[in-house]
Amino acid sequence: MKTVVTLEQYVNAVKETFVMMAVSLGIGGVIGIAIGIALVVCRPGGLMENRIVYQILNPIINIFRSLPFIILLVALIPFTRWVVGTSIGTSGAIVPLTVFVAPYIGRLVENSLLEINPGILEAAEAMGASKWQVIWHFMLPEALGSLILSFTTATIGLLGATAMAGTVGGGGIGDLAISYGYQRFDTVAMIVTVVMLIIIVEALQRLGNYLARKARRE
C-alpha cells in the first residue's frame, strides 16, 4: 500500500496534539476547578450559599456544554481573533479548546466535590475552619482521587475535540487522519492515526486510574 505521510509528519502531529491539549487543559483546568468549586459552595445549602452567582453560572455552563465542539470552534472565531490575534493554526485552536473544556471540567469537578462525605465538612466546621480552609484542607484533598478521574475523562474528551481543530488548521493527529487518511484515501495514514489515538487514550486512562488509586490510598 502506498502512503505519502512521512514519519516526521506523524511526529509533528503528535507534538501539535500534545501542545493543544496541554495548554487548553492547563488554562481550562484552572478555570474549570474554579467553576466547580464556585458551583459547589454557592449552591443552596453550600458553604458560601450565593443564589445570584449560582443562578448565573449554572445556565452559562449549560449553554457551553450544549454546543458541539465543531460549532463552538466556528462561533468563537471573532473571540479567538481578539484573544490571540488569529483564528487559525495551533494557537487559534487553543482558545476554543479551552472554552470547550473549562465548563466540562467545571461540571466534573462539581460532581467530584459533591461526593464528599458531608460529615467531613461538618467536622471541619466544628473545628473552626474558615471557608477557604474547608476548601483547601478538606474538600480538595478528600476529592482528589475523584478529581483525577474527572481530569482523565476531560483530557480524553479534549483529545477528541483536538481532532476537529484541523478545520482551522490547528494540526494534530486528527487533522492528519482527516486530510490524508480520509480526503486522500491514504489507508495507511488512517490506520496509523487510529492506532495512535487508541494508544494515547489507553495510556491516559491507565495513568489516571493509577494516580487516582494512589490518591485514594488504595
Partner: protein
C-alpha cells in the same frame, strides 16, 4: 458552662415545618458528663449542634461560658469552636490523610508552628494509645481506633468542652466500654466538660453524672443520673432504664407464680449503703413470714449501688403488713406488685 434557655428550632420544609426543638432548657456545669438520651428523631442531634453553633436556634438563647452564642459570628465563632472539641458517630476522619495528619489538622488550622504541631500530635497519639498507628490511614483502622483518632483530634487545641455525637453508637459493646473509659479519663484528668448524646442507656449509666431524656423535641425528665435511674417518672424514661436494669417481671411470669403460691408480692428498691444491709434477713427473723425471692438485681451508678428485688411473702396478713413496714422503716422503698 453550657446553658440552653428555652430553645426552639424549626426547620422549614416544603411539606410543612419540622419542629426539632420545642422549648429546651438545660444547664451543664463545669466538670459534668452530661448525657442526653432519646430515640432517633427526638432532637438530640440538633440540640448538641446548638452548643458550637452548627445549628442556630429559631428562638431562645444558648450560652457557653456565660457568652450568648447569638451575637457571635465569623472569626469569633471559629475561635469559640476551636475551644469546643467534637466527636462523631461515624468519626468523620479525612480518609486521604494519615492518623498523624488527621490529629494535627486543628493545629494546622490555627496556624501553629511545625515543631509545636509535631510535639502536640505525638503527645495526643500517645494519650489515646495510637502512637504506633501515626502513619496509618483511617481505612486501616478498626472502629474503636478511628474513634480514638477522632478524640485525639478533638483534644488538639485543649478544649474545655467536648461534644460527643453518638460517639459509641457504631461500635461493638467491648469497644464502646474502652471508648467510654477514655472519655471518663479525659473528663477527670483534663477537667473537660463533656456533653454527649446517645440512644443507649448503658452509656448514660456508665459515665454520666447528669442526664436529660428527650422526646419529640422536648426534655421530659432531667437530673442526676442516680435519681433518674432510681425514680424514673416518665414512661419513656422508664423504658430506657428498663433497657439496662430490669426492674419488672413479665406479667406472664407473675401470673404463673401467683397461681402456684399464695401471698403478696412486693418490689423493693435499695439505694446506696442499704444495698449491703441484711434487711430481708432481719425481717424474716422478726416476723413469721415466708419469703420467696422472685427476682433480684444490683447495679452501680455513679459509685452508688442501686438494687431491685421482687419478693413474695406468705404468712398471716398482719405479719406481712408489719414485715413490710419494717422494711420501709429501714429506708428501703417498698411497693406492692399487682398482677395485671
Amino acid at each position: 458552662m453550657i446553658e440552653l434557655l428555652d430553645v426552639y428550632k424549626t426547620y422549614e420544609r416544603n411539606n410543612g415545618n419540622i419542629e426539632a426543638l420545642r422549648g429546651v432548657s438545660l444547664k451543664v456545669e463545669e466538670g459534668d458528663i452530661f448525657g442526653v438520651i432519646g430515640y432517633s428523631g427526638a432532637g438530640k442531634s440538633t440540640l448538641i449542634r446548638m452548643v458550637n453553633g452548627l445549628e442556630r436556634p429559631t428562638r431562645g438563647e444558648v450560652l457557653v461560658d456565660g457568652r450568648a452564642l447569638s451575637g457571635i459570628t465569623g472569626k469569633e465563632l471559629r475561635k469559640l469552636r476551636q475551644s469546643i472539641g467534637m466527636i462523631f458517630q461515624h468519626f468523620n476522619l479525612l480518609e486521604t490523610k494519615t492518623v498523624f495528619e488527621n490529629v494535627a489538622m486543628p493545629l494546622v488550622l490555627t496556624g501553629k508552628k511545625r515543631h509545636e504541631i509535631r510535639e502536640r500530635t505525638e503527645e495526643l497519639l500517645e494519650y489515646v494509645g495510637l502512637s504506633s498507628k501515626a502513619r496509618s490511614y483511617p481505612k486501616e483502622l478498626s472502629g474503636g481506633q478511628k474513634q480514638r483518632v477522632g478524640i485525639a483530634r478533638a483534644l488538639a487545641n485543649n478544649p474545655r468542652i467536648l461534644l460527643c455525637d453518638e460517639a459509641t453508637s457504631a461500635l461493638d459493646p467491648q469497644t464502646t466500654l474502652s471508648i467510654l473509659e477514655l472519655l471518663r479519663r479525659i473528663n477527670c484528668e483534663y477537667n473537660i466538660t463533656i456533653m454527649l448524646i446517645t440512644h443507649e442507656m448503658g452509656v448514660i449509666q456508665k459515665i454520666c453524672n447528669k442526664v436529660a431524656v428527650m422526646e419529640k423535641g422536648q426534655i421530659i425528665e432531667q437530673g442526676d443520673v442516680i435519681d433518674v435511674f432510681g425514680n424514673p417518672e416518665h414512661p419513656t424514661t422508664r423504658s430506657f432504664v428498663e433497657s439496662v436494669i430490669q426492674t419488672t417481671v413479665p406479667p406472664s411470669i407473675l401470673q404463673s407464680v401467683e397461681d402456684v403460691h399464695r401471698g403478696r408480692m412486693f418490689k423493693l428498691k435499695f439505694v446506696g449503703k442499704l444495698a449491703s444491709e441484711p434487711v430481708i434477713h432481719d425481717m424474716i427473723r422478726r416476723f413469721p413470714v415466708e419469703v420467696n425471692t422472685l427476682f433480684a438485681t444490683m447495679t452501680e451508678i455513679q459509685q452508688t449501688m442501686l438494687g431491685y428485688m421482687i419478693i413474695q411473702m406468705d404468712g398471716r396478713p398482719e405479719d406481712i403488713e408489719q414485715a413490710a413496714r419494717l422494711v420501709a422503716e429501714r429506708g428501703v422503698l417498698i411497693e406492692e406488685v399487682r398482677v395485671p
